[in-house]
């Protein structure tokens, strides 16, 4: 698959957006990797909404919690790096959407719930997880990695 014929401005704007989101993912992952005390426990226990029970039961199971911590940390790192350098970018973007969907479902910005973790803004239904998810979705539909990114070497073979 080839990238769409963008103008230079369109192409680089999309690439910058892709790299910025990749940066956010990667740094979130690296921070967790560098903190020996990090665990997703607190976040999971703070879950609210429809899937609260599911996330609490993950938190309650030590083995599952370890798996979750591992997937989170390395998922964030690999997705972030993938988006930045444009390697396996499609997979990275889809995985990113799935991960963000989990974050959104565990902490939905619905009426009548508040979270222990403070937020810096005000949200109703739409929060930053959802926005980042939608942005990744748009990036998925407007691919740039066959032009700018290492996928160029993998998928553009003549």
């Amino acid at each position: 698959m080839k990238d769409t014929n963008y103008t230079k401005w369109q192409l680089w704007s999309l690439v910058i957006l892709r790299v910025a989101i990749g940066w956010h993912f990667l740094y979130e992952g690296v921070v967790k990797l560098l903190n020996p005390n990090w665990s997703s426990l607190g976040y999971l226990m703070d879950s609210k909404g429809l899937f609260e029970g599911l996330f609490h039961s993950i938190a309650g199971n030590a083995a599952l919690l370890n798996v979750m911590d591992f997937i989170n940390m390395w998922g964030l790192i690999l997705i972030g790096a993938g988006l930045i350098v444009g390697l396996f970018t499609r997979v990275a973007a889809i995985s990113g959407i799935i991960l963000l969907a989990f974050y959104y479902l565990s902490h939905p910005a619905i009426i009548g719930v508040s979270y222990a973790m403070p937020t810096e803004g005000s949200y109703l239904w739409v929060n930053k997880n959802l926005l980042e998810l939608l942005t990744l979705w748009v990036l998925l539909l407007f691919p740039t990695w066959h032009t700018i990114g290492m996928d160029r070497f993998l998928f553009n073979k003549k």
Binding site: V19, L41, H56, G60, V85
Partner: protein, 533 residues
């Protein structure tokens, strides 16, 4: 394309390919550089701070108490609410209770009371005697004593204990080495003195005593007998208190001047307005024996029997019951001992309405809102205690010093003071931000801590229920009993021994006197007596 580019078009396409393919890779370098810079800055800050504070960084080692040697034979006096908890902490619970925990666990695996109980260390003890004045409680105690396999309703039981209708017969028995006293406060003195005289080791619940005089008679009896005595302040086993002591010793908060401790509860149970058992009557309860130590004999009152904490005849109110937990926590950290003076006030402000179903016949005497000030002029600080049994507003223990303050619960947080002398330069240089903690200690931070009931949460938040040893969640009451058992086996003194208990008992008695006599009560430490100011 420029002319120059056109000239070398063959190779140039490859180069452009590579450039475009790798165009964003340098961003990774920027990330690595930024992360390294930030990490380095954090490291320098924490390293400098750690050097400045000189606190040991390790989490405390879990050194399990030893359970070898002969099996100790224990008698339990009082199998009510606290007696049941103490027996559980010793490894014995009625099958129906274990079954309940088991069912709860099957329904929700986060409810870990069952697995926690199974994993609790075996103390190598046997319960050979159960004494309770209420038949139903005595039967439950016997069932718990027989449940040596910690099984549910379908389990196979061991030999049960002997039931004693009077504790004096239990103390006379040869197959009792030690007793756990969980009877109401008005019996603590007589039972402890009799047990000491009979040479039986004692684990007794707080309050230490009912009256000022009893503090002296209990201490005398325990000291002359040489028994191993432990007062039931399980907070002694809380890991964060040990860290708090280290922080105070290393002068993290400087000269201490004020300590604020509190109690907050908001339920009939928390306010000691317990349920009255439907099977309790004059046939199933030995009411005469219950009120034997009381000057005024009253007609059978199920309300007084179950809710004894609400009347001065039997209970010590917020002073002996709950101030003591806070007092003992601070006493193990600061070792401040008996206050030079105590003043106190309070009243029955919430649980005063028969119409609201608070009481059957009689309204409580013991305040449900109560405050006390303990003065320590020799150490230049005051301890302020305030309690409400009708508000759950959560307040921790705070120790305030000139250089910083410390918040204590299951975790420990230390803040520098903006006007601190010790941290003046560090605050100026930006190394220390007074808005952020300079030291935090959160035991078992990676562990799941989903406690079951609101009451348990209350205690857990105050460090009274669970502590962490080696990252493992342990019931502090279990550790406290385990320490007592080990001390008996090794002939050593446990952490909340008779001297510590005496200090707690005097402080609590001063609080009660201050409120009931509406005056400031002074303590003459040289002559060990209460004096007029």
């Amino acid at each position: 394309m420029s002319d120059k580019e056109k000239e070398t078009s063959g190779n140039n396409m490859n180069r452009r390919d590579v450039l475009k393919g790798l165009a964003t890779v340098p961003v990774l370098g920027a990330m690595a550089y930024g992360t390294w810079r930030k990490k380095r800055q954090d490291h320098i800050r924490s390293h400098k701070l750690a050097k400045e504070l000189n606190m040991s960084s390790e989490s405390l080692e879990y050194t399990p108490y030893k359970h070898d040697g002969d099996t100790l034979r224990i008698g339990i006096i009082g199998f009510g609410i606290r007696g049941t908890q103490l027996m559980k902490a010793a490894g014995f619970a009625p099958p129906k209770t274990v079954q309940q925990w088991k069912d709860d666990y099957a329904r929700d695996s986060r409810n870990k009371r069952y697995t926690d109980f199974l994993e609790q260390d075996d103390l190598n003890i046997q319960v050979t005697g159960v004494c309770d004045l209420f038949d139903v409680h005595a039967e439950d105690g016997l069932a718990a004593a027989a449940n040596i396999g910690r099984e549910g309703s379908d389990g196979t039981m061991g030999t049960s204990a002997k039931r004693y209708r009077n504790y004096r017969d239990m103390l006379a028995a040869d197959d009792i080495d030690a007793v756990i006293i969980a009877a109401p406060d008005h019996w603590h003195a007589q039972m402890t003195i009799d047990a000491a005289r009979a040479g039986k080791h004692v684990y007794a619940e707080k309050g230490f005593s009912l009256t000022m005089e009893e503090n002296f008679t209990i201490r005398e009896a325990v000291k002359t007998s040489g028994i191993v005595y432990q007062l039931g302040h399980q907070g002694r086993q809380t890991e964060s208190y040990i860290k708090a002591k280290e922080a105070i010793d290393k002068k993290l908060i400087g000269k201490i001047n004020l300590i604020e401790v509190c109690t907050n509860r908001n339920s009939p149970n928390g306010a000691w307005v317990y349920d009255i058992h439907p099977d309790a009557n004059e046939q199933t309860v030995d009411w005469d024996q219950f009120q034997e130590p009381c000057e005024v004999k009253r007609p059978w009152s199920p309300e007084r029997f179950f809710r004894w904490r609400c009347w001065w005849d039997y209970g010590t109110g917020l002073s002996g019951d709950l101030l003591t937990h806070e007092f003992d926590a601070i006493n193990q950290i600061l070792g401040m001992g008996i206050p030079a003076s105590a003043s106190a006030s309070g009243g029955v402000y919430f649980y005063k309405d028969k119409a609201k179903g608070h009481y059957v016949n009689e309204i409580r005497e013991v305040p449900d809102v109560w405050n006390a000030v303990l003065e320590y002029p020799d150490m230049d600080f005051s301890i302020l205690y305030s309690a409400s049994l009708a508000s759950n507003h959560n307040r921790g223990k705070t120790i305030m010093g000139h250089d910083g303050s410390m918040e204590l619960g299951n975790s420990l947080t230390v803040y520098a003071d903006r006007q601190s002398t010790r941290y003046k330069d560090q605050i100026q240089s930006g190394l220390i931000d007074p808005a952020l903690p300079i030291y935090t200690y959160i035991p078992g931070r990676k562990n799941v801590d989903s406690v079951a009931t609101a009451t348990e949460q209350y205690f857990a938040a105050r460090g009274l229920l669970y502590t962490y040893r080696g990252g493992r969640r342990v019931d502090t009451t279990h550790l406290h009993i385990a320490e007592w058992i080990q001390s008996i086996r090794e002939g050593t003194q446990p952490s909340c021994n008779i001297d510590q208990a005496f200090e707690e008992g005097i402080a609590a008695a001063m609080g009660i006197m201050a409120q009931r006599e509406n005056r400031t009560v002074f303590w003459d430490k040289d002559n060990e007596q209460v004096v007029q100011g």
